[in-house]
Symmetry: C2
Subunit: 411 residues, 2 copies
């Protein structure tokens, strides 16, 4: 008899009917003889409803009070699920962060879990109860309610699974696993049986939305297998496991997926005289909390003189920070008398992920060249290579790479 | 600088506009130099919305889980009010039962407060914060969330006021005070400036809905003045105070109010042979948790024999228990071969309340007799007399008594 932790996201508990379906799903796992701990998000739509009320009172509501407010979302869903399970004749108990000591720091809205006291969880499991925990939330040392920010419920589930020494953390969501590419964009995309933490982490960082990078990091650190699967249909989903795991070694292939993202813009500055000015640019952006993603720096000479090489700089950042970044950078260009900033809006980031990517870099470039796709920026690590291309070339590039690396073939 | 505890009910915080109005009202008290602790109910309609969800999953949902669910109502309203106060430039903090140690027993849905730890409350007040507490809820020793049942937020407010040694507990509601009669029924009814705990307690028990008897008892035990006032209009409201209080001694009058209630039915049984059978009747009702209100027992002889006096029994109980009571009583009548049960549905309870009522009993009867109003049952205590009459005579009786005891005159 193993401990299984199951996490259900907002759409999985988005209505009373969905909550009843989740109850039935949990009972199936229970009937297989497992001890089950369930972590829930708020019903989909609920967080937005609460946020709208808060924002109508204050455009920038207090972070502490916002967490107090938003935490009601998961409290509602866990109580309703417990009611549905008890109605079905099962013993169940819903628990909040303060009841099981999910201790976090006090960064409201983006808190990090510091520890979980597993005493009450284990006690409830011993009493044969199905334990239902509010995801996304914790308490700080002063008992203030905190929330964990994006992907928070996944993090809650993985942290609880690690604390309990669970055999697996199952993330139930609206897709049935991790794919070789986004199946909405690449119809030939295939569901993966398993993938390594490293690859998953890179995919999450590159824009795959199924799992949040913080949760994957946490699971990797605790060597806790994750299984991503659908709460809407049966299936084995995708296991996310350690690279040394026998299961992974059997199935692994050089390239596991192609990932894309369309949330960025590219900013270019030229004729920068010194590295100190380059530093000044990034310091100015960092001071305003603007994250920069990919960076390319190149040197060229002034047209008329041949004395000092000038620097050209291109980097990408999130669309939402576009106007903010431009106003910050205009101060810098005025101070140092630099030419006008250039912004390219219609770009896409295309990435190839896999443990064998290092030996395949040339192939990535030649495939894109064959398709006449121009690359504006390149960034690579041990297990991925990302290129910035024109948005208009995205699907062509995705299809070509997906095909060239045989991702549609069954392993 | 005094500590003032203010409680706002569901209609007082029934919308975002109302929450903003409450914020402004609190700021007025703050600007008078007082330390303010606010206790809130859930926004009106919210508790019913949550109950409907629970009942659609289970007709008899788990009491523990129902409390977990319902407690989100107050959590939402306190967070929103804190946001509104902070937006207005005031320091405010919302707090839940577990954060300030409102310890209760574990009778979910009708828990009683055992203790409150005032440390965090005092600490927040010292930091010049407006403290906003979720009413209606507590935690048991195992940290389970409990709710206090009907009138729970009033009880929370009064218990917190007592713990803090507040100078007054202000209950803001949708009426502007305690009246000499229900002003919707008796247009001549007058608002009282003050009333004693004893009178208020009797009025609450007799059906006056402004304050719940448990809250009044609590305030009386701690000699904590209550002020009932409207959150919709300015005014001094009604003070509920100790009978020995100078303020009360100055203003008191023999009769303070007439109260009515139309929620009961009268049940009569006749030809009961012995007191043991009477006991059996009340034990059968008690076993089914059916509360009996007024009881009248009379003796008469069998028509044919003159040996043993037979007993006639009449009593009232809440309309909702009517069918349940009848089925319980039918078992008793069958066992003891008693005649059919008689139920009178269209009755009303009319009560006169005041410290001088004992010397005015005759007057009550003669006034009702002058108006040709028949009395079915009578019940009296030190400070009240209640009679059961036909519902059709209610307004005539209310007006006549209100008039006869000069309740419309200003004192």
């Amino acid at each position: 008899m193993a401990i299984i932790v199951q996490k259900y996201g907002g759409t999985s508990v988005g209505s009373l009917n969905r909550i009843e379906a989740v109850a039935d799903n949990i009972i199936k796992t229970r009937q297989q003889g497992h001890q089950v701990v369930v972590v829930l998000s708020a019903m989909s739509g609920e967080t937005n409803r609460l946020l709208a009320m808060a924002h109508s009172l204050d455009k920038q509501p207090s972070n502490r009070e916002l967490d107090m407010l938003l935490a009601t979302g998961e409290q509602t869903s866990i109580a309703l699920l417990a009611i549905a399970l008890i109605q079905r004749g099962y013993s169940a108990v819903s628990l909040l962060a303060h009841q099981i000591g999910i201790l976090t720091d006090n960064h409201f809205g983006r808190a990090r879990i510091k520890s979980i006291d597993n005493k009450r969880l284990l006690q409830s499991l011993e009493q044969e109860q199905i334990v239902i925990v509010a995801g996304f939330q914790g308490v700080d040392v002063e008992k203030n309610i905190t929330t964990l920010g994006r992907g928070g419920s996944d993090t809650s589930a993985i942290a609880i699974a690690a604390t309990l020494g669970a055999s697996e953390c199952q993330i139930f969501t609206d897709v049935d696993g991790i794919y070789t590419a986004d199946p909405r964009v690449v119809p030939a995309a295939r569901k993966l049986d398993c993938i390594s933490f490293d690859e998953m982490l890179v995919m999450a960082n590159l824009g795959a939305k199924v799992l949040h990078n913080r949760s994957v990091e946490y699971a990797m650190r605790h060597n806790l297998p994750i299984r991503v699967l659908s709460s809407f249909c049966e299936g084995k989903g995708t296991r996310v496991i350690n690279q040394q795991n026998e299961e992974w070694l059997l199935k692994q292939q050089d390239i596991s997926s192609v990932v894309h993202q369309q949330q960025e813009v590219m900013i270019s500055l030229s004729d920068i005289p010194t590295n100190e000015v380059v530093d000044a640019i990034f310091i100015a952006l960092a001071n305003e909390n603007i994250d920069v993603d990919m960076i390319n720096q190149s040197f060229h000479n002034r047209r008329s003189e041949i004395i000092t090489p000038l620097i050209s700089l291109s980097f990408t950042l999130h669309k939402r920070d576009r106007l903010h970044a431009v106003s910050v950078l205009q101060n810098v260009t005025q101070t140092y008398h630099l030419p006008t900033i250039k912004i390219v809006e219609n770009i896409a980031k295309l990435s190839v992920v896999g443990v064998g990517v290092k030996s395949q870099v040339d192939m990535v470039f030649s495939i894109l060249a064959q398709k006449n796709i121009t690359i504006s920026l390149i960034f690579s690590s041990e297990i991925h290579i990302s290129v910035i291309i024109n948005e208009i070339d995205l699907i062509k590039g995705l299809d070509a790479l997906h095909d060239a690396f045989n991702l549609t073939l069954l392993t």
